[in-house]
Symmetry: C2
Subunit: 280 residues, 2 copies
C-alpha cells in the first residue's frame, strides 16, 4: 500500500510517523509546496520518497491532505479530478463545511472522507512532527453518508490503529463545535499574549515571572498564522458567535470587580468550575 | 528545627513535601482551620503532628502561612503578636501589597518575609499536594529591606533547596506583574469555561471534542473560588487594568472577523507569536 502525504509539516509528519509505526510495510511518499519542507521531511525520516504532486496523486492508494484549510479548498477538487475509483482521499482540516461543500457535486465525491483528528501542537514544520501523536483523542468523521463505504472503512481503520475515538457528525455541526472547543481557545490565547506583550514594553520583570498558570493559557498563542487565519476565515460566523459570548462573560468579571460584587464573582467562578465535568 | 505549616492544603502540603525531602531531620507540625484538612494531611503523611494554632505559633522555628490571601491579612498580625525575636514567619500568597501593608508597623515586622513562589495547580486540598513541586520556577521575595537579614537568609536558603530562581521586588510592583502573568490567565480561563458551558446546555457533543487546545486554556478554570476571589479582591485595580486591555485585544479580533480584515488578523497573530520570546 502506498500512502501519499500532501503537506509534510508538523501534522503531515505526525500522521506519517503513525503509519510507519503501525504499518511498517506501507510505502510513504510525500509532496509539499515548499521544497525546503519536503527535503526536511525526507531528512527527518518520515517520508520514504519525495515526489511531485502529479506523481503523488497517480501513485497513492491513500492520499492524506494535511495543509491549511484555504489550500485544501483549492487543491481538493484537483486531486479528486486525478484519481481513479479505487483510490481514497482524506483531509484533516480544522474546518469542515467549506471543504465538503467545494466537492459536494464532484463525480469522485465518494472517494473522499472528511475528517478532523482533534490533536495538534502550537509548533509547525516537519522538524516538529510528533511520534505517538493522536492517541486517545477524538477523530471526527463528517458527512460519512457522502463517502463510499470502502473509503470510510479504510479511514476508520487508520484511526483505529492509534486508537482514536471516532465521532460522526455533519460538517456544519462540526464547525460550530470546533469554534467552541478549539478556535476560541486560540483567539483567547492570542489576545492574552498581546495583552501581556503590550505591558512588556514598559516593564521587563514580567519575563521572569512567566509561571503561575501563564504558560498553559498562552501556549496556543505560538500557533502559526498561516494555519489559523484560514480557519478563522472559513469559520467566521461561528467564531464570531462564540467570541461575542466570551467577551460578554469577561464583562461579567469586569462588572464584579468594578462594583465589588464578590458574591457574584464567587458564583461565576463556581459556575466555571463545572468544566470539571468536561475535562478531568 | 521545627517548621509549622498553617494551612495544610495543596500548597501547604507541597511545601511540606519539599521540606521532608530536602531536610528529613526537620520536624513538621501543622494547623488548619478545617479539622478534616488537618486530619487528612496527617493521613497523607506530610505533617508529623497536628497541633492547635497557639501551639504551632509557640513551637515553630519557622512558620509557613499557606492560606487564602484574605485569611493571611487577618491572621498574620496575630501570628506576629505571638512570636519571639528568634522565630521567622513567611507567607506564599499570590498578592503581596495588602499583606505587607497590614503588618508594616508591627514590632515584629522584621521577623516576617513576604514571598510568592510562582507555582501552583488547579487542584486544592491535602490529597492534591505535589511532591517535587516548585522546581525551576521563580520565587518572588518582596520588600526584603523590611525583613531582618537572618530571616531573609533562612527563606532564601529554603528556596535554594528546590532550587528556585529568587527575584526581588516591591509588593506594589509584584501585584502589577502578577495581574499580567497569573491573575488574568485565571479570569480568561474561567470566562472561557463559562462560554463553553453556556453552549453545552444546548448541545452535548461538545463533551466528546474537548481536545484541540481546549484543555490547556481551560485547565485553570478548575481553580477554587475560596483562593481566587480574595486574590481578585485584593488586586482589583491591577486586574481591572489588565482585563480592560484584554477585552480591547479581543475586540480587535472581533473587528477583523466582522470586517473580513484578514491582513490585520494575520498581523495580530504574528504579534501574539512574539510571546515565544517569553515562554519557550
Amino acid at each position: 500500500m502506498t500512502v501519499g502525504i500532501i503537506g509534510t509539516g508538523m501534522m503531515g509528519g505526525s500522521f506519517a510517523w503513525l503509519i510507519s509505526e503501525k504499518k511498517p510495510s506501507w510505502n510513504l511518499i510525500g509532496y509539499d509546496a515548499s521544497e525546503e519542507n519536503l527535503e526536511k521531511a525526507v531528512e527527518v525520516g518520515f517520508i520514504d520518497e519525495p515526489v511531485s504532486l502529479d506523481e503523488l496523486v497517480k501513485r497513492s492508494d491513500l492520499i492524506i491532505i494535511t495543509i491549511p484549510v484555504n489550500a485544501i479548498v483549492k487543491l481538493l477538487p484537483k486531486v479528486l479530478d486525478g484519481i481513479s475509483n479505487k483510490q481514497v482521499v482524506m483531509d484533516i482540516g480544522s474546518t469542515k463545511e467549506q471543504i465538503v461543500d467545494v466537492i459536494k457535486d464532484h463525480s469522485k465525491r465518494g472517494r473522499f472522507v472528511a475528517t478532523h483528528p482533534m490533536w495538534g501542537t502550537e509548533y509547525s514544520g516537519p522538524e516538529n512532527a510528533v511520534k505517538g501523536a493522536f492517541k486517545g483523542r477524538v477523530a471526527v468523521i463528517c458527512n460519512k453518508e457522502e463517502s463510499d463505504n470502502d473509503a470510510v472503512e479504510l479511514i476508520e481503520g487508520l484511526y483505529d490503529l492509534v486508537p482514536m475515538q471516532k465521532v460522526y457528525m455533519e460538517a456544519h455541526e462540526h464547525d460550530i463545535h470546533a469554534a467552541y472547543v478549539s478556535h476560541i481557545s486560540h483567539i483567547a490565547s492570542y489576545a492574552l499574549a498581546l495583552t501581556v506583550l503590550e505591558k512588556e514594553r514598559e516593564e521587563d520583570k514580567i519575563f521572569q515571572l512567566a509561571g503561575g498558570g501563564f504558560e498553559s493559557t498562552v501556549r496556543l498563542a505560538k500557533s502559526h498564522a498561516a494555519m489559523w487565519v484560514p480557519i478563522f476565515m472559513q469559520n467566521k460566523e461561528n467564531v464570531l458567535d462564540v467570541l461575542n459570548e466570551h467577551i460578554s462573560q469577561l464583562r461579567k468579571f469586569k462588572a464584579c470587580l468594578e462594583k465589588e460584587n464578590f458574591d457574584y464573582l464567587q458564583e461565576l467562578i463556581e459556575g466555571a468550575n463545572k468544566i470539571k465535568r468536561i475535562i478531568k
